[in-house]
Amino acid sequence: MNERQGFKFIAIFLNMAWFASFVLIPGLMVVGISFMTRDTGTFFSPPLTLTQYRELLDPVYAKVLGTSLIYSLNTTLLCLCVSYPFAWILSQASKHRRPLLLMMVIIPFWTSSLIRTYALVILMKANGIINTLLLAPGIISEPVSLLYTDFAVYVGLVYSLLPFMILPLYAVMEKMDLRLLEAARDLGASEYQVFVHVVLPLSLPGVLAGCIMVFLPAMGLFYIPDLLGGAKTMLMGNFIKNQFLTAMNWPFGSAASVFLLMLMGLMIIIYFTFSRRFNRHQTL
């Protein structure tokens, strides 16, 4: 092995070792511990068991699971409905205006979701801006409680995750060959038909990527129900957090995490199956 290869070997080895130690091994630990029994002294003990998974299906916990899934699903749909037209308008904006508009989407994408959630708290408090604005002209007669409602949780989730939907959609739409739309129109398609037969199918990879990027994190953002939903709403994130920090039940918390990992695996499989099929269509 010469010097250059040695350097490459070390560089790759360091990265691989890092991922193995802090991603692969902890991940396998989560899976392993999910099959163990709770133990108050050592967190978990050996007898291998499916108890945790059976318990996860118990109506009490299955309900948490189901609720969290519904929250994620609704959040994803809301984000999609808002983002799809938005991303399309953005992608069709004039060339010199696009960078600025895109930049304005990227800034919230990278900024702390906690800070943005907190900004919503201020807006929605009983003595917050929205109430003040509604009270002053007499639209409402007494402060309505926006905070600590389902509505607030949805606003919070959509607010935090919206850029994750917009960016993949925009990325696909910007690359779309506009001559295809012209060709469709030239062949006699109405605006509606152009959308259904050309724009929508071509933007599907973006829709899929956006949905995955919203759906999965929406299950874990525990501070949003904490700050906006009071303690009433429970997402998977809150549930897992409680298992690890309050109930000290590692195996049960791990089992719930494995559920999230399986969901992630499923989404990756869906994404790759669809994008492969899509690519094949494109090369035809």
Binding site: W18, M29, V30, T111, S113, L123, I129, L221, L261
Partner: protein, 256 residues
Amino acid sequence: MTRWLKISWVSAVFTFLYGPLLVLMVFSFNQARYTTSWQGFSLKWYMRLLDNPQLLDAFFNSLTVALISSMVATALGTLGAFAVSRYRFAGRKLFFGLVYSVMMSPDIVMGISLLMLFVLAGLTPGFLTLLIAHVTFCLPFVIVLVHARISGFDPAVVDAARDLGARDHEVFFKIIVPMILPAVLAGWLLSFTLSLDDVIISFFVTGPGFEILPLKIYSMVKLGVTPEVNALCTVLFLLTLAAVSAAHVLTKEIKK
């Protein structure tokens, strides 16, 4: 779609995205304690921040972790991306598989898995554990950015440099480093903001002895809203804004 509808849709979305932040920032300069009405411009909440040693500590801790973890992630990730792009090896697929699964995996799962690892390894949660966790979630971003840059340029430039008389170290410092520099800087800036803003993973891997800003904000907000938090959030937001804008300019340079 009519022009009017387009404009209002875009304005509505941007208002939704920026309105709350704007209100937050405006009220951080409000004289009054409550965020209901404007009672005049004041910097008193910022002054109060400076008088709060706990907050300053947390801020300093956050900056330290963000700086060090982003630098470690950038160094490691740049080396990795460079090696991977110039060297076909059997584990290449596994490597990128790991990179993308880290980017995809839910923060909460990463948080609890690292928590368990650190507890079992006997590490006291604090600076070191936080640092490791932050490097771990920043690393993939650096790798992807730098790798994209390297695979974007013509591999023949390295041949050209050698042909013109450059030795290995000259090729590296005169050609490769300047060419990937924008991507490296962008990766570093984005790592910095990711680290500065992270809540979920940090929540699990830090201990009471080492408080960082986002978690401090979280606990303050849970206890009740105070105007200091407005000021604090404004500071943090502006910091990320600066870093993200700089990174964005650099990634645009990459695409050129």
